[in-house]
Amino acid sequence: MRPERISKTAALGLFKEAGLLKLGRMADEARSALHPEGVVTFVVDRNINYTNICINRCRFCAFYRDADDPEGYVLSKRELFNKIKETVALGGTQILMQGGLNPALDINYYLDLLRSIKKKFRINVHGFSPPEISYIARKADLTVREALAILREAGLDSIPGGGAEILSDRVRKKMSPNKISSSGWLKVMRDAHTLGMRTTATMMFGGKEKPGDIVEHLDAIRTLQDMTGGFTAFIPWSFQPGNTEYQGMAPATAVEYLRVLALSRVYLDNVPNVQASWVTQGLKMAQIALRFGANDMGSTMIEENVVRAAGVSHSVTMDEMIKSIKGAGFMASQRDTYYNIIKRL
């Protein structure tokens, strides 16, 4: 039996008033109703940041470089193929391709890249978050939908939910004024879903948002999901202020992270999976997160340049991840991009 859907007002009340353990228990129950078999999944993939040159200069981003910066780069095809080859050799099933909005790259670069990857490898390309998609489309003078259709044709399989930050234009104006708007982000996702592509959704909190903004964000995701059903997972993570314009700001604490995670699980009754972010929180916290609503550990094999650039660096072996999942009382399984189980471990 599905518990009754929680309203925005009730969610806000819970978020503001409920103790962490109470929220956690609710999230754990919601998780167990959706995943009664007690399996926690992860994907073996690699994060490939094909370029770090970006015109957006988001104020919370420690990763981007200007076009004339000596540290700016675009990966060559050879480097890229090598990374993919290694990924496949290690049992990887997907690559996560994300990068900056690089004015030197046009849609032909992307199409060529996708085609050549697909020609050489049998691997799922999970790539290009909405800010990139919308930039590619704009530069090619195409609608988002047209651009998505062409990219898909060339080999793009699914889309990561990055760039959502907080879907509140009030907050976005402060922290990422040049980035795609909330409605722009949602539109890319809607178009992708209607074309039959699956995507994830993220939320970056711990910046300038208020509790109400978090609930608005969750509601925007839930509403779109009711229409399309295209989101596979929701991934909340906390803003890492190191090396950004917000350096010195206190990052979200562990309690705050778990509260947001738990609320997400409780609110998003139509999104099947919630991911713990060990990359930003560390493995110990990610394990605890499995009791606060998460049923997925994200990816094992990581080249997380964006988070590393902000001075946070954790690394985890598959073994450690499996141990930590089991230690929380769950069974561990490797999954593919679509959350199908590939291997029980």
Partner: protein, 357 residues
């Protein structure tokens, strides 16, 4: 499943060994957390303590080479150090304002007992207001051996020269079979308990620790807690219990260390079992800021301090940065829903340097 234990906790009945094992084995960390938090509130209300302190390691040269210890060196080995008394004074000077100095180090092959006494008096003379919490039972036992004096006399002389209280290190895990594998040369569990009991008898309050997450079983952890509870029943000399999560890096034992859930469970079970301990400390240098903050919801009431230097955990790949500011500590406590209280070394609210927190 935990219903009976809940009854006991709410009616202040003592938990048994079986209860503790059940709590360790449960996946219901919510009930565990609620019970431990309830118990913490009966001891300390909604307060969560921290202290402005400095950690001083006078030397890392040690005649023991415990296998889990990434800190110690042999004499002449790369990275070995020994601080002069002047350097120690200078380090404390630079850390001011702090209300407590926490001093622990290796068992130096050449320093005579008098050196430790000199160190204490020099610090006391220089900083008469500073509380000196110094020397684990292992070190005190070593002083007994190098000085040829009785335990009582060693403790009395230390106290006379300025020792205010003792930290609880060196307890590791009391099960001697495991202990033999971890630190064969170290003072055994009976010795640790003997020195600690003698300290309490001399009016020196101490803490107690437990190193977990290495080779021990749940039974070992529970037995460790029971031994401490028995001693505390006799002496009431313990202030805080500090579970220390083992860090595998750079040690001979290897392994993975405890998971996050294990850390929280250990804090919670400690709070529930050690009903006669006033305080449970989530030592943030060992646990990291994140887990120690969560520990405040699982029975802990103390985060330790604005530690300036802590070589022991760092050499073993500890998870936290070198120091934390008072503001950050207060923020962690607030965000957990507890009330931050800056304390002195006996858990009284600190009078000096009160900040508008």
């Amino acid at each position: 499943m935990l219903g009976e234990i809940r009854e006991k906790v709410h009616s202040a009945f003592r938990l048994t060994r079986e209860d503790a094992l059940k709590l360790f084995r449960t996946d219901d960390i919510f009930t565990l957390g609620e019970l431990a938090a309830f118990s913490a509130s009966t001891h300390n209300g909604d307060r969560a303590y921290y202290v402005r302190n400095i950690h001083v390691n006078p030397t890392n040269i040690c005649v023991n080479r415990c296998r889990f210890c990434a800190f110690s060196r042999s004499r002449g080995e790369k990275g070995a150090f020994e601080l002069t008394i002047e350097q120690i004074i200078k380090n404390i000077e630079e850390a001011m304002p702090v209300s407590e100095a926490h001093i622990v180090g290796g068992l130096h092959p050449d320093w005579p007992f008098e050196h430790y006494l000199k160190m204490l008096s020099a610090i006391r003379n220089e900083f008469p207001e500073l509380h000196i919490k110094a020397f684990t039972a292992t070190e005190v036992d070593y002083m007994r051996r190098i000085s040829g004096k009785g335990l009582k006399e060693v403790l009395w002389r230390l106290k006379e020269h300025g020792l205010g209280s003792m930290p609880g290190g060196g307890a590791e895990i009391f099960n001697n079979a495991v202990r033999e594998k971890l630190c064969p040369e170290k003072l055994g569990s009976e010795g640790w308990l003997e020195v600690t009991e003698a300290a309490h008898a001399s009016g020196i309050r101490t803490n107690a620790t437990m190193l977990y997450g290495h080779l021990e079983s749940y039974e070992d952890r529970v037995d460790h807690l029971l031994k401490l509870r028995e001693l505390q029943d006799r002496t009431f000399g313990f202030q805080a219990f500090i579970p220390l999560s083992y860090h595998p890096m750079n040690t001979d034992i290897g392994g993975e260390g405890a998971s996050g859930i294990e850390d929280l469970k250990t804090i919670a079970v400690s709070r529930l079992m050690l009903d006669n301990f006033p305080h449970i400390k989530a030592y943030w240098v060992m646990l990291g800021e994140k887990i120690s903050q969560l520990a405040l919801l699982f029975g802990a009431d103390d985060l330790d301090g604005t530690v300036i230097d802590e070589k022991i955990t760092y050499s073993a790949g500890g998870v936290s940065r070198r120091g934390i500011t008072e503001e950050e500590l207060v923020n962690l406590i607030r965000a957990s829903g507890r009330k931050p209280v800056k304390r002195d070394s006996f858990y009284e609210p600190a009078r000096k340097w009160r900040v508008k927190a």
